[in-house]
Each structure stands twice: as C-alpha cells, then as structure tokens.
C-alpha cells in the first residue's frame, strides 16, 4: 500500500518527460513524438488504475481513504515551503478520467492532425498539458496546485493559439490567457491569505494541514470585513480562480473563442480536463468552503455564492447556445452551462454530486467534441451547421456516437449517464434549504439543453445536405462529405460506451460513486430510487418537452438552404438576435473593461511620457544647468580668480627667487643699501 503513494508522482512526470523529449525533436520526427505522448498517457493510465484499485480498500471504515507524501521544497530562513501529493478517491478518480480521456484524444488527434506540418509540436504541447493537469490533480499543497494551475493555463494558451498564423486564433489565445489570469489573481490572493492565516499550504499534513480541523476551526472563528467568516472569504477568493478557469458567468467569454484551436484541443481542454480544474479546485478545498461557525447550521456564504453563480451560468449559457450556428460554439456554450450545473451541484449537494456530474460530463462532452471534429474533418473544415445537413447517411458511425453523446448530454432518462448525474444535482437543488431558485433555474437549463441539442442534431444530421449550395456560392468545389478513418471513429465508440456505462455507478439505487468518495461502503437498495422518484420523473418530463420543441421547430420542416432564416428567428426575431449576439457580453466588456483598460493604458502612457518623462527631462535639464553653472564658475571664478591669483603669486615668487640667485654680491649690495637706509632712518628718522 505504501509503495503506491511513493510512485504516484510518476504519473504526471511521464508526460512531462515525453513533452521535454519531443520538444527537442526535429519537426519531421512525427511518429516518435506521437508514440512518446501516447505511451506516456497509456503508462499513466495503467498506474492510475493501480492507484484507483488501491483506493478501493479503505484503510479505516468510515474514514475516507487518504495517503499523503510531503517533502521540503524551499528553505528560507526559519520558514520553509513544503510541497506534496495525495492519493484519495477524489484524485484517483480524476487521475483515471484524465489519463483515459487524454489517451483516447491523443489517438484521435493522430488522425485529425495527420497532415498538419507542426505535428510534433502539437503532441509536445498536448503531453505538456497532460502532465500539468495530472500534477494539479494529485497536488496536496495549494502552492503545487497553483503552479500546475498556471502551467495548465500556459498549455491552453499554446494549444488555442496553435495555428498562430490565424489572427483570430492568436487573439483567442491571448483573450483566454488574460481572462483566466484575472481569475488566477483571486486564487493567488486567497492562497497568500490562507498561508498567512494557517501558516501552511499543505492540505493534509498530520493534522497541521490547512484543510484539517485545527486550521479550519481557527479560520472559522475570526471574521473579516462585513462579518464574513475568514474561511468563506478565502473560499470566495479561491472560487474566483475557479470561475476564471471554468468559465463561470463573469469570466466565461474566453471559452467560446477558445474553439479557434484544433478540435482535439477543444475536446481535451475545453470539455474534459482543464475547465474541470475549477470544479476540482472547489471540490478539493470543499471543507474550507463548507466550514461554518460551529452551531450555526445554515450553509456557508461561500457555498451560497457558488450555487447561485453556477445556476445563473447554467441558464445564461444554455440560452446563448440555442442561437449559435457554429457546431463547436454550441458545444462550448453547452460546456459552460454544464460547468454551471457542476458548481451548483457542489454548492447544493456537496463534493460527490458535483464530481459525479463532472466525470460523466467529461466523457460525453469529449465524445460530442470528437464527433464534431469528425464532422468538420468530413465536411472539409466546414464548421457552420447551416452548410451541413443530412450527414446521417454519409457518416453513420459518427452519427451513432454523436447521437449517444447528445442523448447523454440532454439527460435522456435511465439509459444515459447525463440523466443520473443531472438528476442528482436537481434532486440536491430541490432539497436545498435556502431557496428553490437554483432548482427552477436548473430545470429551465435542462429544458434548454435538450432543445438546443435536438436543434443541432436536426440541422447537422437530418434534412437535406446544404454543402452543395455553399460550394456554388463559395466558388470552391467541395467533395462529398466522407466518414472519418477508423483511428478517429474507434475512440468515439469507446467514449460512447463510457458515456452510457458511467451513469449506473452513481444512480440513487446504488450510489457507489458517492460512497466511494466518502469512503463508506454501498450496496444495492432499490428503495432509494423511490424517494428520488419525483425529481426523476420531473427531469424526464423536462427532457421530453425540450426534445419535442426542438423536433417541432427543426425536425419537422428541415431547413433547405444556408441563407434561410432560422426557425426560432422566424418566431422571435428580437430574442433570437439577442441570443445570437451572446447577450452582447463581449461588446459590454469591450465597452467597459477594455475601454477602461485602454484608458488606463493611455493614462499610464501619458503619465510615463509626460509626467515621469517630464520629471526626468526636468532633472536632466537641471543637471545640465547646474553643470553649466559649475563650468561658468570654474571658467571665471576659479580660473579667473584663483588660478589667476596663483599665476600672479608664481610670477611674484619667480621675481623674488631672482633675488636668491646665489650671487653673494647681490646680497652684499642689499646689506649696503640697508645700512644706508638704517643710518638715514636713525639720523633723520626722528625728524620725519
């Protein structure tokens, strides 16, 4: 058992080594780079399975399984910074999920990126991203987590901007990096504040860790401004980081633009792993967020904020997704919405509910993205759904996998994992003591999710193929859409299997996943189903309604030409234009924050150029003047006065030295004259 924790750190290091080596490889060594990356991920997956198996036998009944390994990283003066990694159900689950999904996506991108010239560089970045994500997952110290968090941000920047020659990609990469940085600032402040308060950044450290009871009790007691408990304040700051990374409401703008990157990137980063990092962070520091002053039974303010933001993001993103025409943007907004659900799940239901939805979502969202990728690949880089249609017969395997993913996402009852995880959230939201708001928003979100997924299915797979129209207008002859090769479709099928199978792990009847997380043993009781029945029936009803509406608008009268107005647009032109414009959040930001930033930049430029620059020029001028004065003084005062005086003195000295020229007769004559003078003075001196 001990040896497992010892070798857990190898999982993130393997992809890092792969990334390092492939970075040094010349551009044409494509196969080695790919082999290295996939091999590292495969090995990582095996090790993760071993670790997962280890976590199945809990050491002590009732207590969650946890193995900790800390080491001294930095020593400065008396203080020292310690890092470490931990193996507990939460990290083990994430390890398995990330390595599995990563491996499948690596295999898939073999085909997708086959004829891309920068193939090796792509795999190097992918491996680098995987190692950062795995590092983040197993981190036992908030500092190590933060380091990996930044590396993940860097990897996302590199991968989004992979085709940097496309200006939009470069802009999207920069936007993603900056927005996440804003969130990371909150994370950094929270981390520093936590370090100052608890004195240690290690989560679990034999009782000294910041998430353990001793530190939490200290944090809960003291309050900061406005009576907010210290733990909640730090929790909120950490949540800012999570919001940035997971694209919650105020900071979600970068996620849809991140679709500029290649589709496997979108799949891996913007569906499964990186965006999940925010949720994982909240799950990891859940005890801190959850802590409330002893005695008071109500939910801590931090969790309330998380819940409400999650709910709002869910409904907001779902609304926008309805009016999108780009296949990847629809999925991007659906991801934002689902992340909102996860945050709400964490807020209302606790770690198990949130994490279960995260796991299921990772698989079927990756499936959907890879499916979209295969569609785009098939339609020769065509991303606009208005130019697609009728691909059901042309790409049957992709259609089948995509349909499974769509139904999982929509939450079709009983068979698909999406239904169980979303239902659990709704159930928890329903039980939430504070208010019914989140439950209502969640339900509406679920309805909209079903609606826009059916819209997408109808427009992409059903109805006539609208690609020909585009070619006539666009002027380039496009070949008939063709099915993707096996190397792309096999991962789709594997993901489809998981998208279906995973749901049964966490159903109310047999809540194995929740029990595994808390470390309690679970066994099959159909009875639990009965108490969760009402929410299950409600959600089934919602899904049905959403699909019916979708089919009614888009399935019944399939769209004939790309330029044809959208069905919803015909119904509600005003609402449709707002939704299509993404509630104009970007424009709002551009109008306010960006303008403000530009203004600030201008101001600082002005300050720098005129004020400081002015000061510098002023001092330069003053120094010039002083030196001028000094020169003048030197010129006239010293040279004129002093030197002149010295010169005169020297000349006088030379004159008197003439007297001492060694001619004693001169001396004698002087004596003679003196004698004469003396006599004169003596004799006539008195009379004068």
């Amino acid at each position: 058992m001990r040896t497992v924790i010892e070798m857990v750190w190898i999982v993130p290091v393997l992809p890092l080594l792969a990334a390092g080596v492939s970075a040094l490889l010349p551009r044409q060594r494509r196969r080695t780079a790919a082999a290295l990356a996939i091999g590292a991920m495969a090995a990582g997956f095996l090790l993760s399975c071993v670790a997962f198996a280890a976590t199945l036998q809990p050491a002590a009944p009732g207590a969650p399984f946890r193995l900790v390994r800390n080491f001294e990283w930095l020593q400065f003066g008396s203080a020292s910074l310690a890092l470490g990694w931990v193996l507990d159900p939460l990290s083990a689950g994430m390890l398995v999920m990330v390595t599995l999904v990563g491996a499948l996506i690596f295999i898939y991108s073999l085909g997708y990126m086959a004829h891309d010239p920068n193939f090796t560089r792509f795999f190097c970045f992918l491996a680098f991203f995987a190692s950062a994500m795995l590092g983040l997952v197993i981190a036992n110290s908030l500092l190590l987590l933060f380091i990996c968090w930044e590396l993940v941000g860097l990897a996302s920047y590199l991968l989004i901007g992979f085709w940097f020659h496309k200006p939009s990609a470069a802009a999207a990469a920069r936007k993603a990096f900056i927005v996440t940085r804003i969130g990371d600032l909150g994370l950094l402040l929270g981390m520093v504040w936590l370090y100052r308060e608890t004195g240690s950044l290690l989560f679990y450290d034999q009782g000294q860790g910041c998430l353990e009871q001793a530190a939490l009790s200290k944090l809960v007691v003291s309050t900061t401004l406005g009576g907010l408990a210290l733990s909640s304040a730090i929790g909120l700051l950490l949540f800012c980081g999570a919001a940035g990374k997971s694209g919650q409401l105020p900071l979600h703008v970068w996620l849809p633009d991140a679709m500029e990157g290649p589709t496997p990137v979108s799949a891996l980063i913007h569906a499964a792993t990186m965006v999940a990092a925010g949720v994982f962070l909240v799950a990891r520091v859940y005890p801190l967020m959850q802590a409330v002053p002893s005695g008071a039974a109500q939910v801590s303010t931090a969790l309330q904020v998380v819940t409400w933001i999650g709910a709002c993001t869910a409904i907001f993103a779902a609304l926008i997704a309805v009016a999108q025409n780009d296949i990847k943007r629809i999925l991007a907004y659906s991801t934002v919405s689902q992340l909102g659900y996860m945050m709400m799940g964490l807020g209302v239901g606790g770690v198990a509910v949130g994490m279960f939805h995260l796991m299921t979502h990772a698989f079927f969202k990756a499936l959907l993205f890879l499916g979209a990728g295969s569609v785009i690949h098939g339609c020769h880089e065509q991303q606009d759904i208005r130019h697609m249609g009728g691909l059901r017969r042309l790409m049957p395997v992709t259609f089948a996998a995509y349909a499974v993913g769509m139904m999982a996402l929509a939450g079709v009852p009983l068979l698909f994992s999406g239904f169980w995880s979303k239902d659990a959230i709704l159930h928890a939201a329903h039980l939430w003591p504070l208010s019914k708001g989140p439950f209502v928003l969640g339900a509406a979100g679920a309805l909209l999710t079903a609606f826009y997924m059916t819209r997408q299915m109808c427009l992409v797979f059903f109805g006539p193929n609208r690609a020909a129209h585009a070619s006539a207008a666009g002027g380039h002859v496009s070949a008939q859409p063709h099915e993707s090769p096996a190397v792309m479709t096999v991962p789709l099928l594997i993901l489809a299997v998981f998208a279906v199978g995973l749901g049964f792990l966490g159903s109310p009847a047999w809540p194995w996943f929740q029990g595994w997380l808390e470390g309690s043993t679970t066994h099959f009781q159909a009875g639990h189903l009965s108490e969760a029945l009402p929410t299950m029936l409600l959600s089934a009803l919602i899904v049905a309604a959403g699909m019916a509406a979708g089919w009614w608008l888009y399935g019944r009268a399939p769209r004939q030409s790309p330029r044809e107005a959208d069905a919803l647009q015909r119904l509600q032109p005003g609402l449709y234009s707002i939704l299509a414009g993404r509630f104009f959040v970007d424009e709002f930001y551009a109008a306010t924050v960006v303008r403000l930033n530009a203004g600030a930049a201008l101001l600082s430029d002005f300050l720098d150029r005129w004020v400081w620059g002015g000061l510098v020029r002023l001092t330069a001028w003053l120094t010039g003047q002083f030196s001028e004065i000094a020169r003048m003084a030197d010129e006239f005062l010293v040279n004129g006065g002093f030197d002149l005086g010295c010169g005169r003195l020297r000349r006088g000295g030379r004159f008197f030295s003439g007297l001492q020229d060694g001619q004693i007769q001169h001396y004698l004559s002087v004596i003679g004259l003196a004698l004469a003078a003396l006599v004169l003075w003596l004799v006539w001196g008195g009379a004068l």
């Binding site: 020229d661 060694g662 001619q663 004693i664 007769q665 004698l668 004559s669 003679g672």
Partner: protein, 108 residues
Amino acid sequence: MTPLPYWLILSSILFAIGLAGCLVRRNAIMVLIGIELMLNAANLNFIAFWRYGSGAEAAHGIMFVLFAIAIAAAETAVGLALVIALYRLRRTVQVDEADALKADDKPR
C-alpha cells in the same frame, strides 16, 4: 689734533672702498679683502671715538679693537679655507660662478 669728523669721514671712505671692493670684484678673495677693509674702517672708528670720547682710561675702544682684530683674523682664516675648499671642488673662485649649493662632485 684733527677733529673727529675727519676721522669718521676717512673711515667712511675706507668702508665705502671696502664695500665697493666686495660688490665689484668677481674674485672671492677680493671679496674677503673688501671685508677686511670694512672691518679696519670700523676699527678706525672705534679708536677715533676712543680717542675723542670721554673716559679714555677705560680703554673700551682699544679693547673693542683688539677683539675685533682677533675675530677678523679668525674670520679671514676660515674664509680663505672655504675659498680654497671651493676652489678644489669647483676649480673656480669666481663668486658669480659659485652660485649653486648643489654638491655635485664633478668640478664644472
């Protein structure tokens, strides 16, 4: 007896001649001769004042002259010794040529 001023004028003339000798001639020995003349002029004055002064018995004047003569002789002896040493060192006794105190051995 000739009045006192005559004696004094005579000694002044003698003194002036001695001084002229010192200043005019280039030879060191001539300077010494000039000095001797001046000293003798002074002695002449002493005797003159002794003779015409009051209290001739006290012989102060004569005493002065005696001591002056002795010391002048000593001074001449040393002066000439110096001149001879200078000559051996510099091969010249011209006063205006021996104008440097620097003790370089080579006779110039």
